[in-house]
Subunit: 199 residues, 4 copies
């Protein structure tokens, strides 16, 4: 009997982990985030985040643009002046990354609305935030065994550093996109029209 | 009885989709990719991709850097001259994106090794590639129903454009990282040492 | 007598070179470019370029944003679909860079207006362009001597590769900004309002 | 008689301004910076800066890479962990940009050497720095007149915001490259070999 490859085993384990993490997100927090994004439709939305959380934020920003939102990404060339009408969505597992917290502080100063997606609702980032969506990072499972009874290396090595947080937020935010599309009556065909062609 | 929120339902549906897609990846292609990456340990690795596939590539590049690889990302400031010793990993669902195919062509000219991660093994990109890892995009399911029997909007609106491909590749490549860690005897603690601090 | 440091000597030599290069730009080409940009005020402007030419383009894009233009930069997250109403400004000394020419080709396909800033009016890029602004690169001077009669290393080593083109275009485009401000009645105080704060 | 176009007049005025600014840079500061960069040849160099100063830093980073330095740019995918052996070069006219100062603070914590290029030697950034290179911004001239006696709009509108600082630093750093090439015995032909080909 052919066993599943290690890569596929880890994938299944990661997917189960993500599923568990997303189930623990508070529905009230989700709904509030969705409504806050819809309310920002006439204003600017800025995505903040560094490293892999930053890439997850950019992937979300790209879809928000496809949905017709006026969205920007921190650290890129075209980043506008923020005002009190604007929305800042910050992604940081730890909620402590130096530059992210510094930028959130500036956004706070100009009274932009801040939504933090973080594992730590008591972090410096979360303190700046008007709304927090808690997405847990590592789950509790520390060891698993494969189909042949070998101990897998433990989650630290199968999903090192912020992997579980980043993947969970990526899937979660793509699901938020689905809800935004439904609520705003936007269909895939509308997205295609806003998709970059000269790339 | 409280039903699951739409966002969570879509998440579960997306995760099931990703799981199915990853199961269809050819184990031979996976193993060859892992070996090719390990063989490039003393040389340069360049990640190519645009849009959301580009972000998935960057997330992978960051982990490869954490593992000690000499890795670069196309479109950023510091991108080296490629040679025949180097490895280019290209991510493109369609395998037809203009600039990506153009860059793969240049890499081909200097005889770098090219691994393409794409849904289309017969695409222009795949033709340039020495190795192809086929990761399917949209699954066949076109309609699903929620717990209350409402028809969900269909996968096109729940996972528009390349969403399923991008998410599947992201989870797949993080699983490749787990295998690379195991094969190279690298542990999470080693990654922490290479994690950027001034960000 | 204290002689000027080598760094300052090279600076003066570079500045003289830039001055000479800018004088050779055709006034008709300059005026047409200024008018084309003003005409694009209600539409989108996309800046294309790689490497140091790309950074020069981004610096220009940032100022165009400060002036109120709807401007984008290729290779960043938020890049819109182009249409026949839009303007693409491409910066490439050689006019042959693979991805730049490929992207210009896509812009041509959707009938966007293309302005090429290049040293080579007969390059593949220039062929796609509706308008060309020729900015020469290296000047003719091959050797200069410092205040003590030592031969300086020659321009190839004092301003290697595309240095003279890139610096000349940077100064030229900042001067175009000054003319745009004058023609549009925009003052520095207006720019301050659009300057990013959360960075 | 044909008069010079406004764009060319502004260019000449900008170039004269840059020339004046570069003459005021302290030769001791220049030499120390050159020696510090040469001393970092076996270690990592990180360029920090946002907005147009960030692009100037990236243009410098690219040339340092062409010279064989192990250089990184803040905000990009591949940014390494800094240590006390490494060099951080920060470009900020005001020396107060929030994230730049925050990142310099982190670099200070890990005892990396910090060189600040700034107009303000008493700024928060300069306080973190081990070495400061003062490059003035706006010159004193507030009004100039063109060849026909019309008053030009004043430097604020001809070179708004940080324009004079950014351009002066760009030319200055390219002159530093020339000195590095001379001191290290590197010639243009060596740079060509390290120039990215797949772009």
């Amino acid at each position: 009997m052919r066993t599943m490859s290690f890569v596929k085993e880890v994938s299944q384990w990661i997917l189960a982990g993500i599923g568990g993490i997303i189930q623990t997100i508070d529905d009230v927090e989700i709904n509030r985030m969705v409504e806050t994004i819809i309310a920002a439709r006439e204003n600017k939305i800025l995505l903040l985040g560094t490293g892999r959380s930053g890439f997850v934020g950019r992937a979300f920003a790209l879809r928000l643009m496809h949905l017709g939102f006026n969205v920007y990404v921190s650290g890129e060339t075209i980043t506008p002046a923020l005002s009190s009408d604007d929305l800042v969505i910050v992604i940081s597992g730890s909620g402590t990354t130096t530059t992210v917290v510094a930028q959130a502080g500036v956004a706070k100063d100009v009274k932009s609305k801040i939504v933090a997606v973080t594992s730590h609702p008591d972090s410096p980032l979360a303190e700046y935030a008007d709304e927090v969506v808690v997405v847990k990072g590592r789950s509790k499972i520390d060891q698993i065994f494969d189909y042949e009874g070998r101990q897998l290396a433990g989650e630290y090595d199968n999903a090192p550093l912020g992997t579980m947080f980043e993947l969970s937020v990526m899937v979660f935010l793509d699901s938020v996109i689905a809800e935004l599309m439904q609520k705003l009556g936007i269909h895939e065909i509308d997205l295609r029209r806003r998709h970059a062609n000269a790339e």
